[in-house]
């Protein structure tokens, strides 16, 4: 054979190879990418189904726990067709908080429950009512929840209590709906008030300026309020000259209630308090006026521990006593049976007070009233009929205007009832059914579903190795879809035919329940197909065997246990900052002293990864062999720990105190501080400070290249400048009241430009894939050139953080100036935590996401929030628009309230991506690790949510449930929802996949 021919052939072969080679490579690449894409879609579906499960569980719990009712703003007017006379011009109303019914009736000393500390002390009410027609004593039945605020609403509106009175504003202060006090005010009655400051909060506009409210929350103080009320009565009631100044005199005494909370009823101070009330009442009666109605009542009872809030008989039973000089109440003496603690004594509902007093004082019955007047107030049957007609008119008007029952058979049945009292009974029952009952089945279903979702998350995210999950994810999604469908069909079938299970209200809830069952089974089947419970338990033990995981578990547990006490929940802001500081100190200790465990931990975790030290030298050169961290890395790590601790301390100085924190907290997040010149100067300082701080973190890996200077140095700086301008304009508006120019248009222009650029333009720009690397070509000698890729080692992280910056810009705009300072500190904390996790090689550990989660909570509190409804910064909703317009107002409030959570949910991927050099790990592996880290953040939030579910249910009778625990549970649920959505759809769905594909295509070998 001719050698030249063979040469030719060889060359042809080589050429063919050289041409085909890349093709086979690219086809392999495209195959890999397409497989990656499908895995990625499956991951999103899996996480989304878990998210759906959690949303369903939250929905079930909220449905069971939150009592809702629509409030109408209508105000009742007198009906000219049914005129009636006012019997009394004036009223003296004394409320004795937590006055239980058996406190005021005679109790046989031989009775099993007789207790001299609280029985037979307050005798005046029964003595006057017994065998006389000028006063009447009744058992007064409250509606749960038996807390003072809810009771006062019920007592004055005649309606049933709920936590969220949908339609009224959330601030919960002044009652908007029609009520007794408002009606009295509208009919020119002058109302004097002394006592519990809840009245001031609820009825402030209607009370006369002479009123004296007292602090009510300090249950340790037994006497201040009572003495205040008594001295007020001395001044205005017992003093004949001043009696004419008021029409209505209201006193609210708290002594009995506070004794109950502090010592429980079985304590001698209870006797003292009761005797004090007894004495006061006797004095009032002895100086009674004609033409004045005297009312004494309790708002609720107390249980054997002295607490209240729930729905036990002892908590519900209270007292009502009506008295007027020379009155002639039509009493049925047989019904007042005081034997056996008055078990069979005549009772009336608390809501019945409203129509009773309205009729006696000659004012219209408040619009939302559901009560029914007492029979005792009418002197003859004709009057009674008149009263019943008036009341039925009011109820029917309310029924037709509110349309709460809708046009159902139930409504027709109701309207056809001829007997007026029966009509009211039936109407009330229907309303109670609709509004005022804890639905325990739903609560339990909610808790159970949340617990299941937590177990599933734990198994998928932490127990099964992430690579195996990557292979199993198809099974998961298939099973979930199939079984959800099957379960939906079967549950719907049973529900439509048999109307079972009974706790489901309609087919929507039925399919929600069926779907959640389907998801749980669908995920469990592939798990138990491969693993046993025993193996999973062993994995759990193994997972918790290293130091940092234990620390993280400790943090999660402590945080979840905060909800076991109202004090811890109140001080959550400080505690979270304390825990974050602890993390910083622990890492500082780690870097400073380098305990023993490093040698082993490094061998275990860092074996597969390239251990790049920051000094650029190899591991062996920069430190002695036995130590896993180089000296430079230790200094750097120590520096980051100190930055974290310092920033945490500084930012936690910004606080908007909760009401309950009282004198121990000085609010710094106040309007005057927010718009002070110093704060604005600080914000001006932020414009260069934030970009240069971020630049510092980028420079560590020399990633401040190409896109980074544009993004950080130009766009971020510009956007910060624009937000500074916006907030300066607002400050100017705040400082100078009569400003000549109208700045509104400028403000809206600026804010809309920022939002448009940061959330839309920059995100589209980010989708184009801005790389932060630079090819640095320099001559080594005259002929050859050497190319270095700058920023190679952090190519993932540097690009991903640009996305975080996009959201950061928007969140900066929606935070008040002090909040902006806090967010600036957050940037440093965030990047420091990520650097620390990288240096300690705990990227896969629980600790990273947990530390970030703590950071989110700490920053939530230090951007001027608390887990209470009044502290929501509603005004942030009006940055983009003047009126409430659907996405924009809500966007503002969400970005303001959950800004730190959004930033953290985005940056949790950075734990994996930061300083992750390309082409070391498979795309799938990186994705699996991102899912694992984001999942850990979700686990953290789910644990908190579950804990808040359990404890808010446990504390449903607690005095503070509607003030502390319930808002905290709402907040925990919302946090979980926000984190779920951001993690699933933005972090994993949108960002990670695009980033990983781009970089693995660019740098694949």
């Amino acid at each position: 054979m001719n050698p030249t021919v063979s040469d030719e052939r060889d060359r042809a072969e080589r050429i063919r190879l050289s041409i085909m080679g890349p093709q086979t490579r690219s086809s392999r690449m495209s195959y890999r990418i397409s497989r990656f894409k499908s895995t990625h879609t499956l991951y999103i579906l899996l996480l989304a189904s878990l998210a759906v499960l959690q949303f369903i569980s939250i929905a079930f719990f909220a449905k069971g726990f939150l009592l809702t009712r629509t409030v109408l703003d209508n105000v009742a007017e007198l009906d000219p067709q049914l005129p009636f006379e006012a019997k009394y011009d004036k009223m003296v109303l004394l409320i004795v908080d937590a006055l239980r019914f058996d406190f005021v009736i005679p109790v046989d000393e031989n009775h099993a429950k007789y207790n001299p500390n609280y029985h037979n002390n307050l005798k005046v009410l029964y003595e006057t009512a017994h065998n006389s027609t000028d006063s009447v004593l009744l058992k007064f039945l409250a509606d749960p929840p038996t807390t003072t605020l809810q009771r006062l609403k019920g007592l004055t509106t005649g309606s049933l209590p709920t936590f969220i009175d949908a339609g009224s504003n959330f601030n919960g202060d002044v009652i908007d709906e029609d009520n007794l006090i408002k009606q009295l005010y509208l009919h020119n009655k002058k109302i004097f008030f002394a006592g519990d400051d809840t009245w001031d909060a609820l009825f402030n506009p209607y009370l006369a300026p002479e009123s004296v409210p007292y602090e009510s929350l300090n249950v340790w103080d037994l006497d201040t309020v009572d003495n205040g009320v008594i001295s007020y009565l001395e001044e205005y009631y017992f003093n004949e000259e001043k009696r004419s100044e008021y029409d209505i005199l209201i006193g609210h005494m708290l002594g009995v209630d506070h004794v109950g909370h502090k010592y429980g009823p079985n304590h001698f101070t209870m006797k003292e308090k009761q005797l004090q009330v007894d004495e006061l009442l006797r004095k009032i009666i002895s100086t009674a006026d004609d033409n004045t109605l005297y009312v004494v009542m309790g708002d609720h009872g107390m249980d054997h521990t002295g607490n209240h809030g729930g729905d036990s008989q002892d908590e519900l039973e209270s007292v009502l006593w009506l008295y007027a000089k020379n009155a002639n109440w039509s009493k049925d003496y047989d019904s007042y049976n005081t034997t056996d603690l008055g078990t069979s004594y005549k009772q009336m509902n608390q809501i019945d007070l409203v129509p009773t007093l309205s009729l006696l004082l000659g004012i219209p019955i408040p619009f939302n009233n559901l009560g029914w007047p007492l029979d005792e107030i009418a002197n003859d049957p004709e009057e009674l009929t008149l009263y019943h007609n008036i009341c039925r008119n009011q109820l029917e008007k309310y029924l037709s205007v509110s349309n709460i029952i809708g046009a159902t058979a139930r409504r027709d049945a109701l309207i056809s009832v001829e007997n007026h009292p029966e009509f009211q009974q039936m109407f009330l029952e229907i309303c109670k059914d609709l509004w005022a009952r804890f639905d325990f089945t739903s609560i339990c279903v909610g808790i159970a579903l949340m617990a299941f979702s937590l177990i599933l998350l734990l198994i998928i995210i932490k127990l099964i190795p992430s690579i195996v999950v990557g292979q199993m994810v198809g099974d998961f999604v298939g099973c979930v879809v199939v079984i959800s469908a099957i379960s939906n069909v079967s549950f719907q079938g049973i529900y439509q035919v048999l109307h079972q299970p009974a706790f489901l209200d309609n087919s929507l809830w039925c399919s929600a329940f069926a779907t959640s069952v389907g998801i749980i089974l669908g995920v469990f089947i592939p798990i138990f197909d491969r693993y046993s419970v025993q193996w999973l338990c062993l994995r759990l033990v193994e997972e918790l065997s290293d130091y940092w995981s234990r620390i993280a578990t400790l943090f999660i547990t402590l945080h979840a246990l905060l909800f076991t006490s109202n004090s811890f929940t109140i001080w959550e802001d400080r505690i979270v900052a304390f825990l974050l500081t602890t993390f910083g100190m622990l890492t500082l200790y780690e870097f400073a002293f380098l305990p023993q465990r490093h040698s082993t931990a490094a061998i275990l975790s860092g074996a597969g990864e390239k251990q790049g030290t920051l000094s650029g030298k190899s591991v062996g050169e920069s430190n002695s062999d036995s130590l896993p961290l180089g000296r430079f890395a230790r200094i750097l790590g120590g520096y980051h720990s100190i930055v974290l601790v310092l920033c945490t301390r500084l930012s936690s100085m910004i606080t908007i105190c909760r009401e309950e924190q009282g004198p121990y907290c000085t609010p710094t997040f106040t309007i005057s501080n927010n718009y002070s010149y110093y704060t604005m100067l600080g914000c001006l300082f932020l414009i260069p400070a934030i970009p240069s701080c971020i630049k510092g973190y980028y420079n560590v890996c020399s990633s401040y290249q190409a896109a980074a200077p544009i993004w950080i140095g130009l766009i971020l700086k510009g956007s910060l400048f624009a937000s500074f301008t916006y907030w300066s304009l607002l400050t100017i508006e705040n400082k100078f009241e009569d400003l000549a120019w109208d700045l509104t248009i400028w403000k809206y222009t600026i804010s809309r430009i920022i939002v448009g650029i940061s959330l839309i333009a920059c995100n589209i720009g980010w989708m184009k894939g801005p790389l932060c690397v630079k090819l640095n070509i320099h001559n080594t000698d005259l002929k050859s050139q050497q190319a270095t890729i700058l920023g190679y080692s952090n190519v993932y992280g540097s690009q991903y953080f640009l996305l975080v910056i996009n959201f950061l810009m928007a969140i900066m705009l929606f935070n008040k100036p002090l909040g902006q300072l806090s967010i600036f500190l957050m940037c440093n904390q965030l990047l420091s935590i990520i650097e620390i996790c990288d240096l300690l090689k705990v990227k896969e550990s629980l600790i990273g996401p947990v530390a970030l989660g703590l950071l989110a909570y700490q920053q939530f509190f230090s951007t001027g929030h608390q887990a209470t409804i009044p502290s929501v910064q509603w005004d942030m909703g009006f940055i983009l628009t003047e009126k409430i317009i659907f996405p924009w107002t809500h966007l503002g409030i969400v970005l303001n309230t959950f800004g730190p959570f959004i930033l953290v949910a985005l940056s949790v991927a950075l734990l994996t991506l930061w300083k992750q050099p390309p082409s070391v790990l498979q795309p799938q592996t990186i994705l699996a690790r991102i899912v694992s880290n984001s999942g850990t953040l979700l686990i953290y939030n789910s644990v908190l949510c579950l804990s808040s579910f359990v404890w808010v249910t446990h504390f449903r009778r607690h005095l503070m449930v509607w003030k502390i625990f319930c808002p905290r549970f709402l907040f925990a649920s919302l946090c979980l929802i926000v984190s779920q959505l951001v993690v699933t759809f933005i972090t994993i769905g949108f960002a990670s996949s695009r980033l990983i594909r781009q970089i693995s295509q660019l740098f694949s070998k």
Partner: protein, 217 residues
Amino acid sequence: MHNRKRKTVKKTVSFSDDQNLTNANLNNHRKGHIDDDTPPVYVRKSWTLIPFHLLALLYWFLKYTDFNLLALLYIMIPTQVIYLIFRFNKNTIYGKKRLRLNWLLVFITLGACLLLSIPCLAIIVLFGAPFVELLKESWLLALHCCFLTYPAVYDVFNCNFKVGYFKKYFISVVIGCWISCFVIPLDWDRDWQAWPVPLIVGAYLGSFIGFSIGGYI
């Protein structure tokens, strides 16, 4: 990290944190010395080390002084010195010997504790103690913490600043303080919840436990 030879002790002593190195060094000399597998510097396991005076002081403080931090400090410092002289120093073994008390160092350490209270104060403030108001109380707390570790500080000076072995005494005080923080937010309204009384109690108990069982760890 480095091996250092001491003239008073004949064998090579390592204060390194790295147990492997230490063991390797000790193993080399094993032939000559049979009981050489003990650390180079250690505190004997002995019941005499239990610092009962701390409990007594704490009881006195809580019961009779109306939480007078300064008075407690004034009494605690001499008792700590006595404890060091008669208990801690006698139970500390350097190499295989007990060293005689270095009187100069006793006083230097007192000064050092005073100085150490400043970084300690910084840490307390970083953990969230109020900075401007109550600074005096926080500083007193820092002083208490530092003087509670006084015997350990003395030993650290005595063995050329190798903290490794004595870290546990400092850590026990820190952990005591850390755990005791949980009573601060509770709304019991007791006078002993005032800053920094719970932390003082925690620090005393922590150091009591630390010094009692320190030899066994």
